[in-house]
Symmetry: D2
Subunit: 282 residues, 4 copies
Amino acid sequence: MSEDKKTGRARGEDWWRTGIIEMGPGVIRLRGYEIQDLIGRVSFPAMIWLMLRGELPSEDQAALLGIALGAAVDHGPQAPSIAIARMAATCGVGINNAMASAINVLGDVHGGAGEQALSVYGDIAAAMDQGTTLADAVAARLDRFFAEDRGYVPGLGHRFHPVDPRAPRLIELTRDFAARGVVGGRFADIAQAIEAEVARRKGKRIPLNIDGATAVIYGELGFPPPLTRGLFVLSRSVGILAHAWEQSQETERNKGPLPREWLWAYTGTPVRPFPGREDKSS
Amino acid sequence: MSEDKKTGRARGEDWWRTGIIEMGPGVIRLRGYEIQDLIGRVSFPAMIWLMLRGELPSEDQAALLGIALGAAVDHGPQAPSIAIARMAATCGVGINNAMASAINVLGDVHGGAGEQALSVYGDIAAAMDQGTTLADAVAARLDRFFAEDRGYVPGLGHRFHPVDPRAPRLIELTRDFAARGVVGGRFADIAQAIEAEVARRKGKRIPLNIDGATAVIYGELGFPPPLTRGLFVLSRSVGILAHAWEQSQETERNKGPLPREWLWAYTGTPVRPFPGREDKSS
Amino acid sequence: MSEDKKTGRARGEDWWRTGIIEMGPGVIRLRGYEIQDLIGRVSFPAMIWLMLRGELPSEDQAALLGIALGAAVDHGPQAPSIAIARMAATCGVGINNAMASAINVLGDVHGGAGEQALSVYGDIAAAMDQGTTLADAVAARLDRFFAEDRGYVPGLGHRFHPVDPRAPRLIELTRDFAARGVVGGRFADIAQAIEAEVARRKGKRIPLNIDGATAVIYGELGFPPPLTRGLFVLSRSVGILAHAWEQSQETERNKGPLPREWLWAYTGTPVRPFPGREDKSS
Amino acid sequence: MSEDKKTGRARGEDWWRTGIIEMGPGVIRLRGYEIQDLIGRVSFPAMIWLMLRGELPSEDQAALLGIALGAAVDHGPQAPSIAIARMAATCGVGINNAMASAINVLGDVHGGAGEQALSVYGDIAAAMDQGTTLADAVAARLDRFFAEDRGYVPGLGHRFHPVDPRAPRLIELTRDFAARGVVGGRFADIAQAIEAEVARRKGKRIPLNIDGATAVIYGELGFPPPLTRGLFVLSRSVGILAHAWEQSQETERNKGPLPREWLWAYTGTPVRPFPGREDKSS
């Protein structure tokens, strides 16, 4: 029956159609599998994969996904997301609310570098699929990048770490998984070629960071760039929860960003009299 | 037709029933009034009142509501809500998202004191309705309060301001409106009697704060305590927006709570070796 | 003292600098005015203006701002923001949390049309400042618009209302305020010229909607486009609060989008056996 | 040095103290372990455990945690959280924002049953530690429960599923892990004793649900009740992401709860004329 002809309950139910979950009384199926068959048979990362991709991964694929998810769980309270989680936890809201306020800020700047990096890698991979060499594809993509006057290459460099200790370890593991045939290794090649070409152009090495390294893994595993933002949210949620929980064990109330006895610097209009008016308001 | 008998579209539409807004093609009615009749004829505070209460206020009532809403718009970036708005604005999310993360933390501790104060005032007013004197009702309620070992009386005192400059001005205006017959003045009496009784018991004055003073006005105007939390959200949203906007004009990215070159103090387990295990993960 | 030389507390306090609010013990100043001088002397819309713009508006300017804010408070529970507020209110979270989840979705699609409309108006105004006629500036901007293959002009048309009853009333009031010299009227001219030119090109009138009409007012009053998103949040927050509050008076728990006895349509992989594996998980 | 004596940077850094993460240039340590030692050596559930508890779990403990996390990832779009994620995804916000609006509603009603169930189990376990038998401890706790007029026992029963297919499977696996000595099994005993006692009192079996079953596992693993709310957020975030992602692949804009051509039922004041007033507003 066409959608136009549907009326009433069928039309209402169809409004919320999904291919993820099927339900009936006593029945829950995820992507076609009975939930009770999945429970205890697939790892948590495999469940994440199944939900997002529609098919079960191999155990090795799930393991590599779990590695990337585990690597980015926390970067400390100077990250706005973590600070927000801790402040929220002192304001009399639930732990889910504290997590929501924090996750909410994992936007283009705080959470988007991995997505942007994978998008660049994908462009290069697509050029290679057309027969371009890795070196040429990288050079062309970087030419375009710098022509757009973008100051930094997503996935490279860190304001704090000379070398982000997570990145080389993640690339090493990706190489191991590639050696065992779990993944192809092309995204690791691309990321390292970008790193080398940028070093050549700039005269100094700007090493791969956590966003670039997890983007390599997510790319190897076939995740589309916009979904990697969601994976980062799942990962960082762990640190957000840990910090909200730790903070909630303390007695602080309404935690501000600075010690309680400090103020902020006021830079605005100096004190001035209210212009002569009658009392009047609405 | 009983709800059980309804099927299809009528059942679906009834699921979302509301008494606030009626709509048809070219027609929008709020609480029974055509929207085009309201626009330009009622002030913004009057529109807020109509939406929440179902009836139009008098102009004076709307003016007094607007005074309370305007008084609590901001308390600076040491308030977690304001700090969160500013940090969020640097993370690459929309201004609505920055506002949401901030509003979300106006919970029991950060936004709930007014609700709690009004609840106390209401208990005292109810006792007076039963014939108790103001002094006796206040004393009895405070007895109960301190018996519960609550350390502070909601609506009194401020960690920073010896006297919160907003509170006496709000009470003064409430008295003016009461003198003109707009409100009864009983909640102002109650709040000041609480202030006096606490001063008597503690041997020092703990003056009314912004939460206590706005609670007086909301009580005078007949708002139930839980709704005052919502009114505070509307009020503080203004400061949240102003700070998010100001911050978004700057170039900072991923603003953390402390200057960029600072870290946090680590208080946990000292560095330790990973226990001897094979590489293994999922 | 240069920022590099600042140390300790001064550096920390400077990290949170703002021109909006100044504070000291017993002192709160907004944009240079003592808070107690503002309270009772400026309307709530005037307070919003002062916080966002840094200067007090005239009473007429504040009145026109209040009109725009009041016009867009609600569009009923089929708007995702309102539905979210109502569902959230049944989930055991605070009213501030319900508001936050709702406000959070006022993004580019749900809350951005006014911002986009004002941006188009501003381009046309800028062309006129360079000496182009209104008609030519509108035609050129629409040429560019349709060349970008954008299907709809922001600020025009409504999926539900043949004519949005709020828009003509808002334009009428803008004209009144322009006649009294409060605003210039140019943005009203521009919006109506766009409406006319689109009608000419498409052969049918696609009337101005609420986003286009409020954008006219915000433009007349000098607000920059990105800030109008924030103003829309302030406005719609009123409806969001009213619906969250109404819903919280009911006993529903975990309100879903459809009547409780309905399901959704499942469109995914049919039920399938779990592939033969040993129990194994992590 | 006492906190009072600390000045400047040290005081600022101490304001954000944490025992979770230590950082220096090129160094990230979680709970004392170098991040590069953790990556690839611990599963994602083990990383979650380490972050929340401070110590590494055994592989079996991590596996059981992963089972509980995987079991509750989704319950379909009639759950408010999932519906909110899908609606938000159509409003022009980031996937992190859609997730935040959804996670935010996992409050006392939508996300709190597991926490409440574990709290009841813990009371019974504490009574048994004092020498009470399981049967007596369960009976006493239920007496207290029903005396408080609470209509339903947390962790039992489901409005939709006669038997929730996840619960028996989770208990079965808990028994397996207990048989292998990974956990003690006491919380499974308690939950099943509650189920039996409630059946005896009510004359019909109200079977354990997903909240009760995951509470058993979290209790066996030693998680405190309030933290189980956070674990549920981590779990349900997976389904929230999957649904937000699926929805974002569609072209719907501003998805409401009901089919686009439907309205809602209006139950309020019938249409009425605006009371006779002059045009006036602010």
